[in-house]
Amino acid sequence: MGLLLTYSVKNLSSRRLTTLFTVLGMGLVVFVFAAVLMLAYGLEHTLVSTGSTENAIVIRDGSNTETVSILMRDQAGAVKTDPLVALKDGLPVAANEIVVLISGEKRKNGDAANVIIRGTTPEAFTLRPEVKLVKGRMPAPGTSEVLAGASVAKNFKGCGLGEKVHFAGRDWDVVGVFDSGGRSFDSELWGDVDQVQQAFRRPIYSSITVRLKDPSRFEEFKKRLESDPRLTVEAQREREYYARQSRAGATFIRVIGLAVTVLFSLGAVFGAMITMFAAVSSRTVEIGTLRALGFSRRAVLRVFMVESLALGLLGGALGLAPASFLSFVSVSTTNWDTFSELAFRFTLSPTIIIGSFLFGAIMGVVGGFLPAYRAARTEIVGSLRKA
């Protein structure tokens, strides 16, 4: 078998040009395949990692997302005093926040995109320990000072450190930049809850996020709040809340991307077939010789299948290599659930790596089967006579 394997591989390198064309073709297909999956996974990963398993978020029943939810001050009080809310220094670890969308202007092309401004309290940092101030300082309480998430600071006009951003009839000073490690908070502006309420003349909250004393008792917490006649709220695990927002977008990218990739991979499969048929027909004499030496039909079939499999795997490697560089590319799109801009990265996962090689291998095997079958059926005498 070792001999046959080297025979296969040497054949590939002896017909360098056609091998190159075929492998490049399959490489392009695998590149697109991997890129599409990385995009969908990046979107999912950003949102799923945003929510903590220890926190619960409470919004108005039926409102689906914070951006359209409305809670009254007295309702917020009732949620915060629930016995399952964790305490720190005798105070509940809970943030009552107001979330408002403002129309921002992109630095790159001046396009308008919606940015979330989150009016919050200092507890927000206890609830989300992954959010860290990386530049500047914390805003002074009771002022029009805001923090910008790393992506917002980079992508939106007026949102960088030391700049001023104008909305709701005020100029807001960006005094600090925070980084939440690629979570969706990086796409938000954070300010003081009372200031945001006043500026937008909305004396309400959008959501209340709490740390649970015991996350395994979430169902109990949920049931108590949702059956409370004073409240018309729904409680969700924070992780679940954010994960849900990624579903529609990620599914859309996968459906469109994979449908097109699978369709045009057929083009590359035809290319592999052309190459393999040519490989078989130019080696008729050699195949006859192998058969005359006693190699079985099955062995000949295997030789050519291995050759086309190698083509496919090479294509897989060639496509995956440039795709993996996409990990350094940050992109943004609108999160249609919240209607706000969300920055994320192409993200590679082990599943995508395995999937890409598998996809390349399948293209190679499918493209190589018919030619290999023809090779295996070669008549010894007839093929040797050709010489």
Partner: protein, 385 residues
Amino acid sequence: MSVFRLLMKNAFRHRLRAVLTVGGVGVAILAFGLLRTVIAAWYAGVESAAPDRLISRNKISITFPLPLAQETQIERLTGVTGVTHGTWFGGIYKDPKNFFAQIALAGPESFKFYPEIVVDPAAVEAFGKEPQAAIVGSALATRFGWKVGDVVPLKGAIYPGDWSFVIRGIYTGGKETTDVGTFYFPWNAIEQRLEKEWPDRAGHVGWWIIKIDDPAKAASISQAVDAAFENSSDETITETEAAFQQSFVAMSGTIILSLKVISFLIIGVILLVAANTMAMTARERVSEYAVLKTLGFGGGRIFFLIAGESILLALLGGAVGLLLLWPTVHGVGAMLRQYFPAFPTDPVTFAMGAVAALVVGIAAAIFPYWRAMSLPIARGLRRVD
């Protein structure tokens, strides 16, 4: 023998390889066309926008409403021939997955602003009388199997509570790009409820739809509208309907850009398949080209022979792909109704597919031609494989 016959004979000398090449190019052109159609579907809203309609929204963001009192001020501006309003409802029909646009319109007069919405006048009349009357797009009706008279329950998200509407009419699109996936109902339905339950939220609309007498004055009228509310507590941003729609397209900019890049990579795959075939062909025919050169064929004629063959194969493939595109788009369009209310087949897509095939045909011939020409005649004749 005419040159064209020679081309045909050459192209199909290796029948299996020719068929595979045509098949490979065809499938890839189909994928290219499909992707281009999806990209075009994104712009359907921009394409269907009327030049004499302006949209005015709250400057903070589209999620902030505008007070009803602005209407009379806008009406008074010169160049404005009519004002109506729309409001995004954002309710959920049974499951969040069943997303579709629900827009509350001022009243029956709003339909006069949209001549491309074709609907039974009786339905429009009912729209004016019953706050629960809904007029829905034909694609939406097909998607959920709705008929006139059906009751549609919606769970409010922006406007809390349970709502229900009765379908009084199903509209069709006057143009291929008309959005036929929207659910319209009278603004009064929201207003009556807010007056009772949330008095501070009553008396507001989502955006103004402004009809103007002369599209050439769109910019100055937009400025006049915004100036009228400058420094008030509800500042506006006014732009043409096309620009308004474009801002939604821009929100998906990254996705659209990715699709565009992929569509060009597909052309790369087609090129590689065709180039592979042509490289093999040229390799086999080295001695023939040498004979032709001996007979006095110039470079131009040899290029014509090689390029002719590869263009022939590529165009055949292109034709196969584009013929299949039409039924495929219809199938896929039905699948993607949820995302795209209009899914038009764009003649530009067909033209692009044909041009792509042609370019691939020519490009695939360059390398084999160079090879044929660079090999000295004597060496070409010596090779007999």
